[in-house]
Symmetry: C2
Subunit: 324 residues, 2 copies
């Protein structure tokens, strides 16, 4: 089942979407996705009935530009960094050591969740010197997770999957991390894919707590990366859930990210510019690719083995603030 | 005007509270505090009318144990660390250097906001080895804050004030900070005071973007600190708002904390055990005071110059998980 939110009000208007992503109907079981997640046991079967009815009745044509983030604001946005290749390259880029326990202890940070971007909303860039970068990720939406949840209990808490563009101001990262309180100013609002999708929609591609498909990222119409999101995810989503729930509980609607998808095989390209710049530096002594500039266009998508878009396409343009 | 939330549902039930904190009426203008904040321009005058009516009609007696956090869950909980004395002592405790730009560049971290504790909810401590500590703070609740807000624009975004107990697992901090992604596992759920109070209720004590009153913390019935929250707050709340809004916007209902209130004058005591342990180490080579243990009781309160409790009392007991 595919769900999405029309841009209206602070929390959007929940819709059920046809499997091909082209048609929709406003949900009756809940007004917003957060409301559905707050009462998922009741809402999920009702929404599935509505999706079945949509298949019969046809619904209305869906214009992607009308979509907000499936959760236009969320109670938490926790982002992991589960691809070791990404960690090693990005730390190399800023001359930092790999973190202790790289292969045993997941890295996660608490992101801002009160203002999230829809899939086609502009990336507003007040200052190009901040070094805006995209980061293409897979993420899951959780129901209520108790403190102390184990990895074996954790899988059942994954209710939906989405894609994310976890935007970063690379040039603000070092000063923030030097203060040791996290990324704060270096992370503007994150953008999410048009559709939030139930795990059963992914078939065999969703197994072992990982999504075994390629995540495609294009910059200005040119593919820059299509890494496999499954095998090199060092910590599965259940591993990450166990990790974050060690000391506290999470409310329904919490979004948990994989971190930037990255493969050791260079032929798979990159899901962020920082990796590309590091590889250029390793090869030629300096980076060639600039960070994002006004007018750039970033597209992020994941296709089934039959070439169908699962989550719809994140498709954002970079805009200078004054150009509003 | 004092507002609070009864424990019911995920987001509580908004009530207006009498100035002395003893009586209440369920709010008609909004069902929850978040709903009121989402539409504050309309809701605030309506709630003030209801507060006036409560004063005439008397309402019902208020049992503090019925109260949730004013916001039982929030879209963001951003916590500053604006008292330089606290930063210096806590860093000394873990053998870390003071951060660069200590006096010019505010420290803030993104906290978990999906599950917040009410003022009398137990502090559940699964493992005493984690080193549970209280941290007594002042915080503000914001309306919508645009990206790029200046300090002079920021003051008007402060709609309510509260107190917080920003609980920390001290012994989990070093390993988390070594990974440079922030405090994640070392911060369990934060607790908030019974009442959220509009700035006008604070009279002259609220000026310069700081709250000029003493914050009283007791452990097991004994006062451990009553530092002045105003003069040594290096960055005012508007300073902190400007800082956090540099690269992104915030939704109404965002909570922003001052950090642990701390004075250089030792006679004012402490608002957390980490400071006390550092002072003991400086004086005698080792800490004497243990971190919180099962059965301990923490109380946090702020009184007017006439001795009246403004925000009600945070009053929490530490309980081992199995004792539920």
């Amino acid at each position: 089942m595919k769900l999405a939110s029309l841009k209206t009000g602070r929390d959007g208007r929940l819709i059920v979407v046809s499997p091909d992503g082209t048609r929709f109907a406003e949900a009756r079981a809940a007004a917003t996705l957060q409301a559905a997640l707050d009462d998922w046991r009741r809402a999920e079967p009702a929404l599935r009935d509505e999706a079945a009815r949509l298949a019969e009745e046809g619904g209305q044509p869906l214009d992607p530009s009308r979509l907000a983030s499936p959760l236009p604001r969320a109670y938490e946005w926790v982002d992991g960094s589960a691809y070791v290749n990404h960690i090693l390259l990005v730390r190399k880029a800023r001359g930092a050591e790999p973190p202790p326990g790289l292969y045993e202890d997941p890295l996660v940070y608490q992101g801002g969740s009160g203002v999230l971007l829809g899939p086609t909303e502009d990336l507003v860039l007040p200052d190009e010197a901040w070094g805006m970068d995209f980061e293409s990720e897979v993420c899951v939406v959780l129901d209520d997770v108790p403190q102390g949840t184990t990895a074996s209990q954790a899988a059942e808490h994954v209710k939906l999957l989405m894609l994310a563009n976890d935007v970063t101001y690379r040039n603000l990262v070092p000063a923030e991390l030097a203060k040791s309180f996290g990324f704060f100013q270096s992370k503007p609002a994150t953008a999410f894919s048009p559709f939030a999708v139930t795990p059963d929609d992914l078939g065999e591609a969703w197994h072992g707590g990982r999504l075994h498909l390629r995540l495609r990222t294009s910059l200005n119409g040119k593919l820059v990366g299509d890494p496999e999101a499954g095998p090199e995810m060092q910590f599965s989503f259940p591993d990450l859930i166990r990790h974050i729930a060690k000391t506290r509980a999470f409310t329904a609607g919490t979004i948990l990210g994989s971190g930037t998808v990255s493969n050791a095989d260079r032929a798979r390209g990159v899901s962020c510019l920082a990796e590309k710049r590091t590889l250029e530096t390793l090869d030629n002594g300096q980076p060639v690719t600039p960070f994002l500039k006004t007018g750039d266009r970033v597209q992020i998508e994941m296709l089934t083995s039959e070439g169908k878009s699962i989550f719809g396409r994140i498709d954002q343009r970079v805009r200078h603030r004054e150009a509003a």
